[in-house]
């Protein structure tokens, strides 16, 4: 009985950690996007190209691994 409780407890702890990590990751992924758009960065290449065509301006495209 004790062993079952221990296993269940461990499983619950692992599940909670996984949920917490997944939530933190989702917040982090959305975070940089929100921050980028706040300063006028486009995140959709097609939208940026259309904007460049409409305004006659060149595009500056930054490629960067997400930290």
């Amino acid at each position: 009985m004790k062993r079952t409780i221990k296993v269940l407890g461990l499983a619950a702890a692992v599940a909670l950690c996984w949920l917490y990590a997944a939530r933190a990751q989702a917040q982090s992924d959305g975070g940089w996007q929100r921050e980028a758009t706040r300063y006028g960065w486009q995140l959709d290449y097609q939208v940026a190209k259309d904007l460049a065509r409409r305004t006659g301006k060149p595009l500056m495209v930054v490629i960067r691994c997400i930290p």
Binding site: Y45, A52, P58, L59, V61, V62, I63, R64, I66
Partner: protein, 321 residues
Amino acid sequence: MRLAQIDRSDLNVFDFDYDLTFMVFFLNADEQVYARYGGRIAESPDERQSLAGLRYTMQSVLAAHRSEDKQFAPPQQARPFYIRDIAPRRAAGGGCIHCHQVKEFMDNKLKADGAWSLDQVFRYPPPENLGLKLEIDRGNVVEQVVADSPAARVGMQPGDVLRSLNDVPIHSFGDAQFALDRAPKSGSAPIIWQRDEQSISKRIELPEAWRRSDISWRSSVLYLAPFARLYGFDLTDEEKLSLGLSPNRLAFRHEDRVHDQAKAAGIKPGDIILGVDDRELEMRAFDLSAYVRCNYVKGEVLTVNIIRNGEPLRMKMTLLP
């Protein structure tokens, strides 16, 4: 705009040194590329970048964009190219593809096609390989020209503005690396620079092995980085002079423990190591490992120049990873 997923990008447009983690492209709405900003050398990931340098490139691109005679970096091929064309998504574990993995997938494809060669290792050579150092804050302005280098022999001087290299317009250090990546492994390449109001057009020499540079920072080819595995302590200036060597010359006495790789070459404890491949190297014992990593790859055979009991010997050593 910011591109965060290289696997969805046309690599014929976004063609760059995929071992980098940061690169900026300047292009028009028709996806014609004016310039690139980025690039690095082995010593530091950001030594060749500055905010002033980025601003300078942006201004240079705006001037090119307004110009009647627009110059673009030529693409490698006429049609789009995506990483999914050569590597299924599951090959990268199903998740995000890192830029260096793009290079690995490309190399794997070349290997599968029997088209891979050592030239694929030494990609995006810096202009320093031709004796040309560009300013950091003004990426197409020559800061320094190394004496007796290809750049010096073609007549370049500090203050010159590099306009075109190997038919690629140059606005930045990143452009110069891109231009040199497309240059042949030997021969020459067209170069145009501006001095005051004068435009000078010549061909710069590309000597044998000019592309080679330190690959130790490149994730995509780390498996090819070799180790010299020669260890010891520098001779004193007096000891060097007694052997007829200048104090700056590499000369060290091998320590008692000899690695199997060196042992297989015939190196013994106490041997005096003078260099490799008959080159007179000016460095310390500690620097030899980096020198070998910069100039050789796994599997190559080099000659170790040694002195044993006062006699000069040449030992062949196969480099292992």
